[in-house]
């Protein structure tokens, strides 16, 4: 884990409110694993106070990519960075995806910017794995396919692909998918993850989900990011024990 000052190499607009930022980060880029995240200081002064957590979206040599949506003040400031500006990364943090065991098909189920961690995961997968990406969004304009593979879309308004949410799309395709050994990788808003989790537990599908929650430190010292463990006795920490969990491991 490092605290690394990373210079901005480029900032690209990927959709109405979506940006892809590329930064030079030689220390973190060579040890980060798919599904891990960085906690980012978006300004050079004490405001906003806290760092902002973002999944590592992709890695290219010494460069890291983050895909982000405009949300509040932090992402606004991030979207205003110019080439040569710097941001300060703390990472790599958390536990990433487990993806190198025995299954033939990786089924990626992403809701909106839940797609963020997958380009890096896809890049790192063994080439013999079959990849299917199911990508959900409110509408056509919310679909960002950067770095994804073999994408089928689902939109709430039916403006592209399947008319409905991405978990419904998964259900509609499950016949084809479940003919082989497969693992599901999910990321997206909580209600979506909950639906995905329920479906997978019911059907005993192998599924890993990456969850989000408010964080202060990102590395286990503030106790600010608890999530109920499935057994319910104690909390797990999203930042340290996650953000990727087995679907059966946590209560959403």
């Amino acid at each position: 884990m490092y605290i690394e000052k990373a210079f901005v190499e480029s900032l690209e607009k990927m959709g109405e409110d979506t940006f892809l930022i590329k930064v030079f980060s030689p220390a973190i880029s060579c040890i980060v694993k798919p599904g891990q995240f960085c906690n980012i200081k978006v300004s050079e002064n004490d405001y906003p106070l806290l760092r902002r957590p973002f999944s590592v979206c992709n890695v290219d040599g010494d460069y890291l990519f983050f895909l982000f949506d405009l949300h509040g003040i932090g992402t606004k400031l991030l979207s205003m960075k110019k080439n040569g500006d710097s941001i300060e990364l703390l990472g790599p943090l958390g536990k990433g995806f487990v993806y190198d065991d025995q299954y033939d098909t990786a089924v990626i189920v992403a809701g909106g910017l839940g797609a963020a961690p997958f380009p890096f995961l896809i890049k790192n997968m063994e080439p013999e794995k079959n990849i299917i990406t199911l990508l959900g969004g409110r509408s056509k304009n919310n679909l960002v396919t950067y770095g994804l593979k073999n994408v089928s879309a689902a939109t709430d308004d039916g403006s592209e692909g399947f008319n409905g949410n991405v978990v419904e799309l998964l259900k509609s395709r499950i016949g084809e998918i479940s003919s082989g050994k497969f693992r599901i990788f999910g990321c997206g808003p909580n209600p979506m993850l909950k639906a995905l989790q329920e479906y997978c537990i019911e059907n005993n599908f192998d599924c890993q989900i990456s969850v989000e929650c408010a964080m202060a430190c990102g590395f286990g010292i503030c106790q600010g990011c608890p999530i109920d463990s499935a057994e319910g006795v104690s909390y797990l920490l999203v930042c340290k024990d996650g953000p990727v969990f087995n679907a059966s491991q946590v209560k959403l």
């Binding site: 004490d46 806290l50 590395f219 010292i221 104690s234």
Partner: protein
């Protein structure tokens, strides 16, 4: 480092420098040790320990506010027993002073915790948390009650020879009255301040952003309040003070010492910059050198005020 003596003494406890990591903002030291050299720091205070392990409050536990944050962790901790078994061995390996923070819901429970811990050599002092705003029992009830604070100080002092610091609540009219009571009952120092009670609501769901409804406000937003509280104690009592609240860098630390702190703790800043303690150390050394300060303890309470 050559010409500056950074060591301080707070009510009988010697520290190699005045920089202490605050309770609840460093866990039990292991995670932050990946980012900073704990051996360089004056001390570290454990997360508040309770007799039994506590799960803490349900999420959401934290929210950012302007130049601050609210937390309602609810004293999640492993409990005294497991602390002794699982955490102390790791902490022993460091060359820094360990202060054990204790939270309880009755005078007896405070004493019981201290009894279990007092024979651990690595623990050099106790900080008694009578001011947690985020739990039902104990917490602020004690923190707002002069008699309770006096009684707790007295009983804890009687049960250990180690220095006892009482961590005071800022959510009172006159914090110096509490400092006086601590002094009268034999307490060795006060730690000031704990967090301010605050809240924040979502304007669409109309629900509190923090499940516990209210939380404790920390960070730079509260620094002016913390400075005023420390100053008030200093001007009304001669009990040593450990200053806490909103310190982000060495300048804030110097300011805290000037208004009266013998040592200081850093909390929220650890979340943003886990190496802040060491950076503050370097800043203090330069400041002392540039201003011809031989012993940093000379700084304490040297505010220039015509009363």
């Amino acid at each position: 480092m050559k010409n500056v003596d950074l060591s301080v003494n707070i009510g009988g406890l010697s520290l190699k420098n005045p920089i202490i990591l605050a309770s609840g903002t460093v866990g039990y030291g292991n995670e932050i040790a990946e980012f900073t050299n704990l051996n360089l720091l004056g001390g570290i205070v454990t997360k508040s320990l309770s007799l039994k392990p506590r799960k803490g409050n349900p999420p959401q536990r934290i929210v950012e506010t302007p130049s601050g944050m609210l937390n309602a962790i609810g004293l999640a901790n492993v409990g005294v027993e497991s602390f002794i078994k699982d955490k102390i061995p790791f902490l022993k390996a460091f060359d820094t002073t360990l202060i054990c923070n204790i939270a309880a819901s009755s005078v007896e429970e405070y004493v019981e915790c201290v009894d279990m811990l007092k024979n651990e050599d690595v623990i050099k002092a106790f900080e008694i948390n009578v001011s947690c705003p985020n739990v039902q029992e104990g917490g602020l009830e004690f923190g707002n009650d002069l008699n309770a604070v006096g009684r707790i100080t007295d009983k804890v002092k009687s049960s250990t020879r180690k220095p006892v610091f009482i961590k005071l609540s800022p959510n009172v009219s006159r914090i110096s009255d509490f400092a006086k009571v601590v002094k009268e009952n034999g307490g060795n120092a006060v730690s000031a301040i704990n967090t301010l009670v605050g809240t924040s609501f979502d304007i669409y769901t109309r629900k509190p952003k923090i499940k516990n409804i209210t939380g404790g406000l920390s960070g730079p937003a509260i620094r002016p309040v913390a400075l005023a509280k420390v100053l008030e104690i200093k001007r009304n009592s001669d009990i040593p003070i450990i200053g806490i609240g909103g310190i982000m860098n060495w300048k804030d630390a110097v300011e805290m010492m000037i208004v009266g702190a013998s040592a200081f703790q850093i909390g929220t800043v650890n979340f943003i910059n886990p190496n802040a303690g060491v950076e503050i150390l370097n800043g203090l050394i330069s400041y002392c050198e540039n201003n011809k300060i031989k012993n940093i303890s000379e700084l304490t309470g040297t505010f220039q005020i015509r009363d």
